[in-house]
Protein backbone atom coordinates (compact mmCIF):
# COMPACT_ATOMS: atom_id res chain seq x y z
CA UNK A 1 0.00 0.00 0.00
CA UNK A 2 1.29 3.42 -0.84
CA UNK A 3 2.18 5.58 2.11
CA UNK A 4 1.25 9.20 2.34
CA UNK A 5 2.97 11.49 4.80
CA UNK A 6 1.31 13.76 7.29
CA UNK A 7 4.45 15.78 7.89
CA UNK A 8 7.50 16.09 5.69
CA UNK A 9 10.37 17.92 7.30
CA UNK A 10 13.40 18.90 5.30
CA UNK A 11 16.81 20.15 6.46
CA UNK A 12 15.64 21.15 9.90
CA UNK A 13 18.43 22.83 11.80
CA UNK A 14 18.38 24.46 15.18
CA UNK A 15 21.38 25.45 17.24
CA UNK A 16 21.72 25.81 20.99
CA UNK A 17 24.79 26.10 23.10
CA UNK A 18 26.44 22.72 22.90
CA UNK A 19 23.59 21.14 21.04
CA UNK A 20 22.38 21.10 17.49
CA UNK A 21 19.23 19.64 16.08
CA UNK A 22 19.94 18.47 12.59
CA UNK A 23 17.30 16.54 10.68
CA UNK A 24 18.07 16.39 6.97
CA UNK A 25 14.88 14.54 6.17
CA UNK A 26 12.02 13.19 8.18
CA UNK A 27 8.72 11.88 6.88
CA UNK A 28 5.97 10.99 9.28
CA UNK A 29 3.47 8.53 7.84
CA UNK A 30 -0.17 9.52 7.64
CA UNK A 31 -2.74 7.40 9.47
CA UNK A 32 -0.30 5.95 11.98
CA UNK A 33 1.11 6.57 15.42
CA UNK A 34 4.74 7.60 15.42
CA UNK A 35 6.90 7.38 18.52
CA UNK A 36 9.83 9.68 19.10
CA UNK A 37 12.36 7.88 21.25
CA UNK A 38 15.65 9.06 22.64
CA UNK A 39 17.72 10.06 25.64
CA UNK A 40 16.95 13.14 27.66
CA UNK A 41 18.27 16.09 25.72
CA UNK A 42 18.30 14.23 22.43
CA UNK A 43 16.14 16.93 20.90
CA UNK A 44 12.72 15.30 20.98
CA UNK A 45 10.90 18.20 22.61
CA UNK A 46 12.63 20.76 20.42
CA UNK A 47 11.67 18.79 17.36
CA UNK A 48 8.04 18.51 18.48
CA UNK A 49 7.93 22.23 19.29
CA UNK A 50 9.17 23.02 15.82
CA UNK A 51 6.66 20.68 14.20
CA UNK A 52 3.79 22.17 16.19
CA UNK A 53 4.74 25.72 15.27
CA UNK A 54 5.28 27.05 18.76
CA UNK A 55 8.98 27.49 18.06
CA UNK A 56 9.74 29.41 14.93
CA UNK A 57 13.46 30.07 14.98
CA UNK A 58 14.82 27.19 12.98
CA UNK A 59 16.08 26.64 9.50
CA UNK A 60 14.43 24.28 7.09
CA UNK A 61 11.07 23.49 5.63
CA UNK A 62 8.08 21.59 6.88
CA UNK A 63 5.20 20.47 4.73
CA UNK A 64 1.95 19.48 6.41
CA UNK A 65 -0.80 17.15 5.19
CA UNK A 66 0.89 16.76 1.82
CA UNK A 67 -0.51 20.10 0.77
CA UNK A 68 1.01 23.12 -0.86
CA UNK A 69 0.50 25.45 2.08
CA UNK A 70 3.83 25.99 3.76
CA UNK A 71 2.77 28.17 6.65
CA UNK A 72 2.16 26.52 9.98
CA UNK A 73 -0.48 29.15 10.79
CA UNK A 74 -2.76 27.68 8.16
CA UNK A 75 -2.68 24.23 9.67
CA UNK A 76 -2.65 25.05 13.39
CA UNK A 77 -6.39 24.45 13.61
CA UNK A 78 -5.77 20.88 12.48
CA UNK A 79 -2.73 20.22 14.65
CA UNK A 80 -3.16 19.32 18.29
CA UNK A 81 -0.04 19.95 20.34
CA UNK A 82 0.10 18.96 23.99
CA UNK A 83 3.15 19.41 26.14
CA UNK A 84 4.28 18.93 29.71
CA UNK A 85 4.99 21.63 32.27
CA UNK A 86 3.40 25.04 31.97
CA UNK A 87 1.08 24.34 29.09
CA UNK A 88 -1.76 26.40 30.53
CA UNK A 89 -1.38 29.52 32.61
CA UNK A 90 -1.22 28.23 36.20
CA UNK A 91 -3.98 30.56 37.39
CA UNK A 92 -6.52 29.18 34.92
CA UNK A 93 -9.29 26.95 36.21
CA UNK A 94 -10.68 23.88 34.49
CA UNK A 95 -13.80 25.81 33.51
CA UNK A 96 -11.76 28.73 32.27
CA UNK A 97 -9.77 26.54 29.92
CA UNK A 98 -13.07 25.61 28.33
CA UNK A 99 -13.89 29.29 27.72
CA UNK A 100 -10.43 30.07 26.42
CA UNK A 101 -10.44 27.03 24.14
CA UNK A 102 -13.75 27.99 22.62
CA UNK A 103 -12.20 31.27 21.58
CA UNK A 104 -8.95 29.78 20.43
CA UNK A 105 -10.21 26.92 18.30
CA UNK A 106 -13.18 26.77 15.97
CA UNK A 107 -13.73 23.06 16.36
CA UNK A 108 -13.48 22.91 20.15
CA UNK A 109 -16.39 20.92 21.55
CA UNK A 110 -17.25 22.03 25.10
CA UNK A 111 -19.49 19.03 25.77
CA UNK A 112 -16.77 16.65 24.78
CA UNK A 113 -14.31 18.51 26.98
CA UNK A 114 -16.57 18.23 30.01
CA UNK A 115 -17.17 14.59 29.30
CA UNK A 116 -13.47 13.88 29.03
CA UNK A 117 -12.70 15.79 32.23
CA UNK A 118 -15.26 13.68 34.01
CA UNK A 119 -14.12 10.43 32.41
CA UNK A 120 -10.50 11.06 33.29
CA UNK A 121 -11.42 12.21 36.78
CA UNK A 122 -9.71 15.59 36.58
CA UNK A 123 -10.22 17.84 39.58
CA UNK A 124 -12.74 15.48 41.13
CA UNK A 125 -15.72 17.21 39.50
CA UNK A 126 -14.76 20.66 40.72
CA UNK A 127 -14.41 22.85 37.66
CA UNK A 128 -13.18 25.80 39.70
CA UNK A 129 -9.96 24.00 40.47
CA UNK A 130 -6.89 25.83 39.26
CA UNK A 131 -4.25 24.32 37.05
CA UNK A 132 -1.59 25.16 39.63
CA UNK A 133 -3.33 22.99 42.21
CA UNK A 134 -3.40 19.90 40.01
CA UNK A 135 -0.81 17.12 40.14
CA UNK A 136 1.46 16.54 37.15
CA UNK A 137 -0.63 13.56 36.12
CA UNK A 138 -3.84 15.55 36.25
CA UNK A 139 -2.24 18.43 34.37
CA UNK A 140 -1.35 16.06 31.57
CA UNK A 141 -4.85 14.59 31.59
CA UNK A 142 -6.30 18.09 31.36
CA UNK A 143 -3.98 18.88 28.47
CA UNK A 144 -5.10 15.73 26.69
CA UNK A 145 -8.76 16.50 27.36
CA UNK A 146 -8.40 19.94 25.80
CA UNK A 147 -6.59 18.70 22.75
CA UNK A 148 -8.86 15.69 22.19
CA UNK A 149 -11.96 17.89 22.34
CA UNK A 150 -11.06 19.37 19.00
CA UNK A 151 -11.38 18.10 15.45
CA UNK A 152 -7.71 17.67 14.69
CA UNK A 153 -5.93 15.59 12.10
CA UNK A 154 -2.58 15.26 13.73
CA UNK A 155 -1.74 15.06 17.42
CA UNK A 156 1.72 16.10 18.55
CA UNK A 157 2.19 14.93 22.14
CA UNK A 158 5.31 15.63 24.17
CA UNK A 159 5.85 12.91 26.77
CA UNK A 160 2.16 12.17 27.33
CA UNK A 161 2.78 8.95 29.25
CA UNK A 162 5.51 10.00 31.71
CA UNK A 163 3.38 11.67 34.40
CA UNK A 164 0.52 9.16 34.11
CA UNK A 165 -0.08 6.12 36.29
CA UNK A 166 -0.19 2.65 34.68
CA UNK A 167 -3.99 2.68 34.51
CA UNK A 168 -4.02 6.04 32.77
CA UNK A 169 -1.28 4.95 30.38
CA UNK A 170 -3.51 2.12 29.33
CA UNK A 171 -6.35 4.59 28.90
CA UNK A 172 -4.08 6.87 26.89
CA UNK A 173 -3.27 4.03 24.49
CA UNK A 174 -6.97 3.30 24.20
CA UNK A 175 -7.73 6.94 23.43
CA UNK A 176 -5.02 7.07 20.80
CA UNK A 177 -6.34 3.88 19.22
CA UNK A 178 -9.81 5.41 19.15
CA UNK A 179 -8.48 8.63 17.68
CA UNK A 180 -6.77 6.73 14.88
CA UNK A 181 -9.76 4.51 14.25
CA UNK A 182 -12.21 7.41 14.01
CA UNK A 183 -9.89 9.11 11.56
CA UNK A 184 -9.86 6.00 9.37
CA UNK A 185 -6.43 6.72 7.96
CA UNK A 186 -6.81 10.50 7.91
CA UNK A 187 -5.54 11.08 11.42
CA UNK A 188 -2.03 10.65 12.71
CA UNK A 189 -0.34 10.81 16.08
CA UNK A 190 3.24 11.74 16.93
CA UNK A 191 4.40 11.37 20.52
CA UNK A 192 7.68 11.34 22.34
CA UNK A 193 8.15 8.84 25.12
CA UNK A 194 10.53 7.17 27.52
CA UNK A 195 7.92 4.56 28.40
CA UNK A 196 8.45 2.48 25.30
CA UNK A 197 6.98 -0.78 26.55
CA UNK A 198 3.82 0.92 27.82
CA UNK A 199 3.30 2.59 24.49
CA UNK A 200 4.46 -0.23 22.24
CA UNK A 201 0.96 -1.42 21.46
CA UNK A 202 0.14 1.92 19.91
CA UNK A 203 3.43 2.52 18.10
CA UNK A 204 3.47 1.97 14.36
CA UNK A 205 6.40 4.05 13.25
CA UNK A 206 9.43 4.87 15.29
CA UNK A 207 12.02 7.63 15.21
CA UNK A 208 15.03 7.20 17.46
CA UNK A 209 16.96 10.38 18.17
CA UNK A 210 20.42 10.96 19.60
CA UNK A 211 22.23 14.30 19.94
CA UNK A 212 19.77 16.05 17.70
CA UNK A 213 19.99 13.50 14.92
CA UNK A 214 17.62 10.78 13.87
CA UNK A 215 19.73 7.64 14.14
CA UNK A 216 17.12 5.06 13.23
CA UNK A 217 13.60 5.13 11.86
CA UNK A 218 11.10 2.77 10.38
CA UNK A 219 7.89 0.87 10.87
CA UNK A 220 8.07 -1.24 14.00
CA UNK A 221 7.39 -4.47 12.13
CA UNK A 222 10.24 -3.71 9.73
CA UNK A 223 12.60 -2.91 12.57
CA UNK A 224 11.69 -6.19 14.19
CA UNK A 225 12.91 -7.93 11.06
CA UNK A 226 16.00 -5.80 10.75
CA UNK A 227 17.17 -6.54 14.30
CA UNK A 228 17.26 -9.93 15.95
CA UNK A 229 17.66 -10.71 19.62
CA UNK A 230 20.43 -13.25 20.16
CA UNK A 231 21.07 -15.23 23.33
CA UNK A 232 24.03 -17.49 23.72
CA UNK A 233 26.50 -19.17 26.03
CA UNK A 234 29.44 -17.52 27.73
CA UNK A 235 32.03 -19.45 25.73
CA UNK A 236 30.88 -17.79 22.51
CA UNK A 237 30.68 -14.34 24.00
CA UNK A 238 34.04 -13.07 22.75
CA UNK A 239 33.45 -14.25 19.21
CA UNK A 240 29.91 -12.90 19.12
CA UNK A 241 30.81 -9.53 20.55
CA UNK A 242 32.42 -8.29 17.36
CA UNK A 243 29.46 -9.32 15.24
CA UNK A 244 26.62 -8.13 17.43
CA UNK A 245 25.21 -4.63 17.16
CA UNK A 246 24.75 -4.37 20.90
CA UNK A 247 26.13 -6.73 23.46
CA UNK A 248 25.83 -7.47 27.14
CA UNK A 249 27.31 -10.47 28.77
CA UNK A 250 28.00 -12.07 32.14
CA UNK A 251 29.38 -15.33 33.43
CA UNK A 252 26.26 -17.28 32.48
CA UNK A 253 25.88 -16.17 28.93
CA UNK A 254 25.40 -13.23 26.64
CA UNK A 255 22.57 -11.39 25.06
CA UNK A 256 22.52 -8.85 22.30
CA UNK A 257 20.87 -7.41 19.29
CA UNK A 258 22.19 -8.47 15.92
CA UNK A 259 21.47 -7.03 12.53
CA UNK A 260 19.52 -9.63 10.59
CA UNK A 261 22.05 -9.52 7.76
CA UNK A 262 24.83 -10.54 10.15
CA UNK A 263 23.07 -13.46 11.79
CA UNK A 264 24.75 -15.91 9.36
CA UNK A 265 28.12 -14.97 10.81
CA UNK A 266 27.04 -16.46 14.12
CA UNK A 267 26.71 -19.91 12.55
CA UNK A 268 28.22 -22.65 14.59
CA UNK A 269 27.51 -21.03 17.91
CA UNK A 270 24.97 -22.43 20.26
CA UNK A 271 22.54 -19.55 20.17
CA UNK A 272 18.84 -18.82 20.38
CA UNK A 273 17.14 -16.23 18.21
CA UNK A 274 14.14 -14.18 19.22
CA UNK A 275 12.14 -11.29 17.87
CA UNK A 276 13.14 -8.29 19.99
CA UNK A 277 10.61 -5.90 21.51
CA UNK A 278 10.62 -2.29 20.42
CA UNK A 279 12.07 -1.43 23.80
CA UNK A 280 15.00 -3.78 23.29
CA UNK A 281 15.66 -2.41 19.81
CA UNK A 282 15.50 1.18 21.04
CA UNK A 283 17.87 0.59 23.91
CA UNK A 284 20.32 -1.15 21.58
CA UNK A 285 20.21 1.69 19.06
CA UNK A 286 20.51 4.30 21.79
CA UNK A 287 23.46 2.47 23.40
CA UNK A 288 25.23 2.28 20.07
CA UNK A 289 24.88 6.01 19.54
CA UNK A 290 25.11 7.53 22.96
CA UNK A 291 27.91 9.68 24.30
CA UNK A 292 27.49 8.15 27.70
CA UNK A 293 30.01 5.50 28.58
CA UNK A 294 28.78 2.30 30.14
CA UNK A 295 31.25 0.26 32.08
Amino acid sequence: MEMANVIEACNIKKKYKGFQLDVPKCNIPKGFATALIGENGAGKSTFLNILSGIRLDYKGEIKYFDEQEQNVDQVKERLGYAGPGNYFLPQWSIAQIEEVSELLFQTFDADRYQKLCQELGIGGGDNRKKVSSLSDGNKMKLTLAAVLSRETQCLLLDEPASPLDPLMRDKLCEMLHEYLEEGNGERSVVFSTHNISDMENVTDYCLIMEHGNIVEEGFVEDLKEKYILVKGEAKDAEAAKSILYSFSGNSYGFEGICLAENVDKLAGMDIQLETPSLCQISVAVMKANTNLKFS
Binding site: K14, K15, Y16, K17, S52, G53, I54, R55, L56, D57, D73, K76, E77, L79, G80, Y81, G83, G85, N86, Y87, F88, L89, P90, Q91, W92, S93, A95, Q96, I97, E99, V100, E102, L103, L104, F105, R128, K130, A146
Partner: protein, 214 residues
Protein backbone atom coordinates in the same frame (compact mmCIF):
# COMPACT_ATOMS: atom_id res chain seq x y z
CA UNK B 1 -16.49 43.78 20.25
CA UNK B 2 -18.34 40.83 21.77
CA UNK B 3 -15.40 38.62 20.98
CA UNK B 4 -13.07 41.09 22.61
CA UNK B 5 -15.09 41.11 25.81
CA UNK B 6 -15.32 37.32 25.72
CA UNK B 7 -11.54 37.15 25.43
CA UNK B 8 -11.22 39.28 28.54
CA UNK B 9 -13.81 37.31 30.47
CA UNK B 10 -12.24 34.00 29.46
CA UNK B 11 -8.98 35.09 31.06
CA UNK B 12 -10.56 36.33 34.29
CA UNK B 13 -11.28 33.80 37.00
CA UNK B 14 -14.61 33.96 38.80
CA UNK B 15 -13.08 35.02 42.10
CA UNK B 16 -11.09 37.76 40.37
CA UNK B 17 -14.28 39.22 38.99
CA UNK B 18 -15.98 39.13 42.36
CA UNK B 19 -13.08 40.91 44.04
CA UNK B 20 -12.61 43.47 41.31
CA UNK B 21 -16.21 44.27 40.45
CA UNK B 22 -17.97 43.77 43.76
CA UNK B 23 -15.67 43.73 46.72
CA UNK B 24 -13.30 46.59 45.92
CA UNK B 25 -15.96 49.12 44.74
CA UNK B 26 -18.19 48.42 47.72
CA UNK B 27 -15.27 48.62 50.11
CA UNK B 28 -14.10 51.93 48.68
CA UNK B 29 -17.49 53.57 48.66
CA UNK B 30 -18.28 52.27 52.13
CA UNK B 31 -15.03 53.69 53.44
CA UNK B 32 -15.85 57.02 51.89
CA UNK B 33 -19.11 57.07 53.79
CA UNK B 34 -17.54 55.98 57.06
CA UNK B 35 -14.95 58.72 56.93
CA UNK B 36 -16.72 61.51 55.07
CA UNK B 37 -14.46 64.02 53.43
CA UNK B 38 -15.24 67.64 52.94
CA UNK B 39 -14.14 67.93 49.41
CA UNK B 40 -15.02 66.21 46.13
CA UNK B 41 -11.46 66.33 44.87
CA UNK B 42 -10.20 64.77 48.05
CA UNK B 43 -12.70 61.92 47.64
CA UNK B 44 -11.60 61.30 44.10
CA UNK B 45 -7.98 61.37 45.14
CA UNK B 46 -8.71 58.78 47.77
CA UNK B 47 -10.42 56.52 45.23
CA UNK B 48 -7.67 56.81 42.64
CA UNK B 49 -4.96 56.20 45.21
CA UNK B 50 -6.58 53.00 46.40
CA UNK B 51 -7.26 51.90 42.84
CA UNK B 52 -3.63 52.31 41.80
CA UNK B 53 -2.73 49.99 44.63
CA UNK B 54 -5.52 47.53 43.83
CA UNK B 55 -5.03 47.48 40.06
CA UNK B 56 -1.33 46.77 40.24
CA UNK B 57 -1.76 44.01 42.77
CA UNK B 58 -4.74 42.45 41.00
CA UNK B 59 -2.96 42.43 37.68
CA UNK B 60 -0.58 39.77 38.91
CA UNK B 61 -3.59 37.48 39.11
CA UNK B 62 -4.35 38.04 35.45
CA UNK B 63 -1.27 38.95 33.48
CA UNK B 64 1.44 38.27 36.07
CA UNK B 65 4.74 37.75 34.36
CA UNK B 66 3.48 37.58 30.79
CA UNK B 67 6.41 39.67 29.61
CA UNK B 68 9.05 37.49 31.26
CA UNK B 69 11.24 35.37 29.04
CA UNK B 70 9.54 32.23 30.27
CA UNK B 71 7.21 31.97 27.31
CA UNK B 72 6.47 28.33 28.07
CA UNK B 73 3.61 29.57 30.21
CA UNK B 74 1.77 30.60 27.11
CA UNK B 75 2.18 27.36 25.20
CA UNK B 76 -1.51 26.76 24.84
CA UNK B 77 -2.13 30.20 23.39
CA UNK B 78 0.75 29.69 21.03
CA UNK B 79 -0.81 26.59 19.52
CA UNK B 80 -3.68 28.66 18.18
CA UNK B 81 -3.69 31.38 15.56
CA UNK B 82 -6.02 33.36 17.76
CA UNK B 83 -3.75 33.18 20.79
CA UNK B 84 -1.97 36.52 20.40
CA UNK B 85 -5.18 38.21 19.33
CA UNK B 86 -6.89 36.89 22.46
CA UNK B 87 -4.10 38.35 24.56
CA UNK B 88 -4.37 41.68 22.76
CA UNK B 89 -8.13 41.78 23.19
CA UNK B 90 -7.93 40.95 26.84
CA UNK B 91 -5.24 43.57 27.49
CA UNK B 92 -7.23 46.24 25.64
CA UNK B 93 -10.49 45.50 27.38
CA UNK B 94 -8.70 45.43 30.70
CA UNK B 95 -7.41 48.96 30.16
CA UNK B 96 -10.80 50.28 29.11
CA UNK B 97 -12.37 48.48 32.05
CA UNK B 98 -9.92 50.08 34.41
CA UNK B 99 -10.75 53.61 33.26
CA UNK B 100 -14.49 52.96 33.33
CA UNK B 101 -14.44 51.33 36.76
CA UNK B 102 -12.62 54.23 38.41
CA UNK B 103 -14.81 56.75 36.62
CA UNK B 104 -18.01 55.05 37.63
CA UNK B 105 -16.89 54.89 41.23
CA UNK B 106 -15.98 58.55 41.17
CA UNK B 107 -19.32 59.52 39.67
CA UNK B 108 -21.23 57.46 42.24
CA UNK B 109 -19.18 59.07 44.91
CA UNK B 110 -19.83 62.58 43.64
CA UNK B 111 -23.57 61.90 43.48
CA UNK B 112 -23.55 60.49 47.00
CA UNK B 113 -21.55 63.50 48.16
CA UNK B 114 -24.02 65.92 46.66
CA UNK B 115 -27.01 64.05 48.05
CA UNK B 116 -25.60 63.77 51.55
CA UNK B 117 -24.24 67.31 51.73
CA UNK B 118 -27.26 69.43 50.85
CA UNK B 119 -26.30 72.90 49.81
CA UNK B 120 -23.02 71.91 48.20
CA UNK B 121 -22.91 72.30 44.49
CA UNK B 122 -20.68 70.83 41.87
CA UNK B 123 -18.04 73.27 40.73
CA UNK B 124 -16.45 73.09 37.30
CA UNK B 125 -12.97 72.96 38.73
CA UNK B 126 -13.81 69.95 40.90
CA UNK B 127 -14.95 68.04 37.85
CA UNK B 128 -11.86 68.97 35.91
CA UNK B 129 -9.45 68.09 38.70
CA UNK B 130 -11.29 64.81 39.33
CA UNK B 131 -11.00 63.96 35.68
CA UNK B 132 -7.32 64.78 35.82
CA UNK B 133 -6.88 62.52 38.81
CA UNK B 134 -8.62 59.68 37.00
CA UNK B 135 -6.37 60.17 33.99
CA UNK B 136 -3.35 60.33 36.26
CA UNK B 137 -4.37 57.07 37.87
CA UNK B 138 -4.79 55.48 34.45
CA UNK B 139 -1.41 56.68 33.23
CA UNK B 140 0.39 55.56 36.37
CA UNK B 141 -1.23 52.15 36.36
CA UNK B 142 -0.66 51.46 32.67
CA UNK B 143 2.92 52.61 32.87
CA UNK B 144 3.82 50.61 35.97
CA UNK B 145 2.00 47.46 34.84
CA UNK B 146 3.98 47.42 31.63
CA UNK B 147 7.07 47.24 33.82
CA UNK B 148 5.59 44.88 36.41
CA UNK B 149 4.71 42.25 33.82
CA UNK B 150 8.38 41.77 33.08
CA UNK B 151 8.73 40.16 36.49
CA UNK B 152 7.03 37.11 37.86
CA UNK B 153 6.23 37.38 41.53
CA UNK B 154 3.54 39.11 43.50
CA UNK B 155 6.16 40.78 45.68
CA UNK B 156 7.30 42.70 42.62
CA UNK B 157 3.77 43.92 42.02
CA UNK B 158 3.52 44.87 45.67
CA UNK B 159 6.71 46.89 45.47
CA UNK B 160 5.69 48.56 42.25
CA UNK B 161 2.30 49.50 43.67
CA UNK B 162 4.13 51.48 46.36
CA UNK B 163 5.94 53.29 43.58
CA UNK B 164 2.52 53.95 42.08
CA UNK B 165 1.31 55.54 45.28
CA UNK B 166 4.36 57.80 45.38
CA UNK B 167 3.82 58.82 41.77
CA UNK B 168 0.18 59.62 42.59
CA UNK B 169 1.19 61.77 45.52
CA UNK B 170 3.64 63.72 43.39
CA UNK B 171 1.27 63.88 40.45
CA UNK B 172 -1.70 65.18 42.39
CA UNK B 173 0.13 68.40 43.21
CA UNK B 174 0.77 69.13 39.53
CA UNK B 175 -2.73 68.05 38.55
CA UNK B 176 -4.29 70.55 40.90
CA UNK B 177 -1.96 73.37 40.03
CA UNK B 178 -1.81 73.28 36.24
CA UNK B 179 -5.27 71.96 35.56
CA UNK B 180 -5.61 72.59 31.84
CA UNK B 181 -2.03 71.83 30.84
CA UNK B 182 -2.05 68.62 32.85
CA UNK B 183 -5.36 67.59 31.33
CA UNK B 184 -4.00 67.87 27.80
CA UNK B 185 -0.74 66.26 28.79
CA UNK B 186 -2.45 63.36 30.53
CA UNK B 187 -4.80 62.66 27.63
CA UNK B 188 -1.86 62.50 25.26
CA UNK B 189 0.12 60.36 27.69
CA UNK B 190 -2.82 58.02 28.27
CA UNK B 191 -3.24 57.40 24.55
CA UNK B 192 0.48 56.94 23.93
CA UNK B 193 1.04 54.68 26.92
CA UNK B 194 -1.97 52.50 26.12
CA UNK B 195 -0.66 51.80 22.65
CA UNK B 196 2.88 51.32 23.92
CA UNK B 197 1.85 49.02 26.75
CA UNK B 198 -0.09 46.68 24.46
CA UNK B 199 2.63 46.67 21.88
CA UNK B 200 5.35 45.88 24.37
CA UNK B 201 3.32 43.07 25.93
CA UNK B 202 2.46 41.57 22.55
CA UNK B 203 6.00 41.91 21.29
CA UNK B 204 7.18 39.90 24.26
CA UNK B 205 4.52 37.27 23.65
CA UNK B 206 5.50 37.02 20.00
CA UNK B 207 9.12 36.65 21.03
CA UNK B 208 8.18 33.47 22.90
CA UNK B 209 8.10 31.78 19.53
CA UNK B 210 11.83 32.34 19.33
CA UNK B 211 14.79 31.60 21.54
CA UNK B 212 17.16 34.24 22.67
CA UNK B 213 20.10 32.03 21.76
CA UNK B 214 21.11 31.28 18.18
Amino acid sequence: MRRMIRSYLALTPFLYRIVLFVFIPIAIIAMQQLFPMEDIVLCTFFITLIMVFAEILMDYWLFGGISTRDGAKLEYLKTSNYGIKLMKNALTINMVRQLIESSVMTIINIILFLVLNQGESLRGKDVLVSTNLLLLEYVVVVMLLTVARFFDGWQVNMFISYAGVILMLGGCYLVGKYVIIMFVLLVVLALLLSALSINIALKRVRECYYDKAA
